[in-house]
């Protein structure tokens, strides 16, 4: 709740405080948004203009052909497709694994399953960065198959995410137990109860989990960089990294890449901001 009370707002001092707060916030917004806007505008500048001094804000001429040029030069469509494929596959696999587990832990509770929750949550203590190279070693010989440079190595290693199980379980815990019992008396088995009773009631939490999985997956950098050395398999982020590292690419084309890499998450966010914010504040964790 705001610390400034409604009563106070009538006094001169209260008005002044409120005005100052709003003033600071309004000054901050352009500073926050500026890099974004500048990025979006630089996409249409010419290679010379983008590094001119003094820098221009609005492009002198709007070069729309920058976008198709960049896409054809770097096979960027392929990278975009890789990223989306990765996200969709991870969402499908991870969410279904997590759903089954959260359902069993929350509603079925077989003997000894308390320890299983600890087993899952314990992985939150392992940082992904430390796992990267051991995972690479593991995939060089994964049950006799070399899985490095294979999209599935990435998809599988992202399939275990304790956060998703945690969020789903706490939501399922809030669903009334009676619903299940009555369905069981009507002769539904466990799987049937999950699909026709639990899932329809859980749409909000699935929006949270799916969107956050998408964001986390799309932004991945270290794992794709290590596990997918072949440029055909690169995700957007690795491509962006590789291109800016050469020093050969003009900045306006890099800006196009950055803009196109940012646009999908921006769109997802604009249409689903409620769920993403909810996911962050629900867990108090950054994914």
């Amino acid at each position: 709740m705001p610390a400034l009370q409604t009563v106070e707002l009538r006094s001169r001092k209260g008005k002044l405080t409120y005005g100052t707060i709003m003033g600071i916030l309004c000054v901050g917004i352009p500073l926050q948004i500026f890099p974004y806007v500048w990025l979006m505008l630089s996409m249409f500048k010419s290679a010379r203009e983008v590094r001119s001094i003094p820098p221009t804000f609005i492009p002198a001429t709007w070069l729309w052909e920058n976008i198709p040029d960049t896409f054809s030069r770097f096979h960027f469509g392929q990278n975009l497709w890789n990223s989306l494929f990765l996200c969709v596959a991870v969402i499908l696999i991870q969410v279904s694994i997590s759903t089954l587990a959260a359902y069993a832990l929350s509603k079925l509770r077989p003997k000894g399953s308390k320890w299983v929750m600890t087993f899952f949550l314990g992985t939150m203590m392992i940082n992904a960065q430390a796992l990267a190279w051991p995972t690479y070693i593991m995939f060089t010989n994964f049950f006799g198959v070399r899985m490095v440079d294979n999209m599935w190595s990435l998809i599988l290693s992202f399939s275990a995410w304790a956060w998703a199980i945690f969020i789903l379980k706490s939501f399922f815990d809030g669903l009334p137990h009676d619903l299940m019992e009555s369905a069981r008396i009507d002769g539904a088995n466990n799987f049937r109860i999950l699909t026709s009773i639990i899932l329809p009631l859980s749409k909000p939490v699935y929006s949270v989990v799916i969107l956050n999985t998408f964001m986390a997956c799309y932004n991945q950098f270290m794992y794709p960089l290590i596990l997918l050395p072949d440029s055909r398999n690169w995700t957007i982020m690795v491509r962006v990294y590789a291109i800016q590292g050469t020093g050969q690419t003009p900045w306006n084309q890099i800006m196009v890449l950055l803009g196109c890499a940012t646009l999908p998450v921006l769109l997802v966010y604009i249409f689903a901001q409620k769920y993403i914010v909810q996911g962050i504040s629900m867990s108090g964790l950054k994914g």
Binding site: M1, P2, A3, P54, P110, I137, M222, S281
Partner: protein, 329 residues
């Protein structure tokens, strides 16, 4: 009593089928690699013929004699200091300010949160462009203010600040949302009664709002420390560890050892060392109050949970007591 009963199997064992995929995936992709990491750190790894030659603790001894690795530890602590000075307090301030907004709160929150959704890599590249010494925006601003231009990312003294600075805008939004959610739970009655007692605006912020979100601030502090120990993406993109190792972090050094020099065993040893650091920090975080994992049945001693329950009870009673006279009047 029948030992083998179909009903009992159905009740006690069949539900385990739902858990099996998750258990396999967690065991295989989380626990197995970390155990493998510990195992392999005692070997001079040969990638073709795993695991290679057993060399005992040599990798660990080498790590703590390696000036480059010690340098990366030093850098990590410097990054930590900078992130505390530069980044940590901003989301708290922002959340406190946004919490006061009466009209257009959602708009404000959105505006301050949007930069946080942008992919970190893309933003790091954009900031690399801004820091460019020749035609970057940062030097342009300095020039128009008649200040001497800087070399930014090429200057060992400035590079750490330059890498952490975008965090103000990128990472701030996420944490801000968490603080904002916590601030909204601070009961209004407390502010009302404090106002009646003559407490000014700032007194109320420092004596009522901030102490109530303190547990979350502590949690976020530990998470911020963990983030610094895990720093990789933005450094790799912006400098790749340079100039002259001034921005090399522990994870980045391990990456270089494996990727550039193919010293997999040594790189994994370094990873294991970072893992141990982060593990200790995570244990601290988990034992703190207001941890989301408490409800998952982990962390937090019995005493602590009792204390939390008592605080909650007291709070509820205080709120009731505050409401009662209001109702009478």
């Amino acid at each position: 009593m029948k030992i083998f009963s179909w009903d009992r199997i159905k009740r006690d064992y069949l539900p385990w089928l739902f858990l099996v995929p998750a258990i396999i995936s967690f065991a295989l992709f989380k626990y197995y690699p970390i155990i493998l990491g510990f195992f392999v750190s005692f070997f001079k790894v040969n990638i073709v013929d795993l695991p290679g030659d057993f060399i005992g603790f040599d990798n660990y001894i080498r790590a703590f004699k390696d000036p480059d690795f010690l340098n990366s530890i030093k850098n990590t602590f410097q990054f930590l200091l900078i992130s505390l000075v530069l980044n940590f307090w901003v989301p708290i301030l922002l959340a406190t300010l946004i919490n006061e907004v009466r009209r257009g709160k959602t708009f404000m929150r959105t505006m301050y949160f949007i930069p946080a959704v942008a992919p970190g890599i893309a933003m790091s590249v954009l900031w690399k462009y801004i820091w460019q010494p020749d035609y970057g925006l940062a030097n342009f601003i300095l020039k128009s203010l008649n200040l001497p231009v800087q070399k930014w990312l090429n200057d060992p003294a400035l590079v750490k600040w330059c890498i952490q600075f975008p965090g103000l805008i990128i990472g701030g939004g996420l944490t801000m949302v968490i603080y904002l959610a916590a601030l909204q739970d601070v009961p209004e009655e407390q502010h009302e009664s404090a106002l009646l007692d003559g407490a000014g605006f700032f007194t109320r912020i420092f004596r009522i709002s901030l102490p109530q979100i303190m547990p979350i601030v502590t949690t976020m502090l530990v998470l911020a420390v963990i983030d610094v120990f895990n720093m990789f993406d933005n450094v790799q993109v912006m400098t790749g560890g340079g100039p002259i190792g001034a921005s090399e972090t522990m994870v980045l050094y391990a990456y270089d050892q494996a990727y550039t020099f193919l010293n997999y065993g040594y790189a994994i040893t370094l990873s294991v060392i970072t893992f141990i650091c982060v593990f200790i920090l995570t244990c601290i975080q988990m034992s703190l109050e207001n941890n989301p994992l408490l409800s998952g049945g982990k962390g937090g001693g019995k005493e602590q949970r009792k204390a939390i329950r008592k605080i909650k009870k007291d709070r509820a009673e205080a709120a009731k007591a505050a409401q009662a006279p209001a109702k009478e009047g």
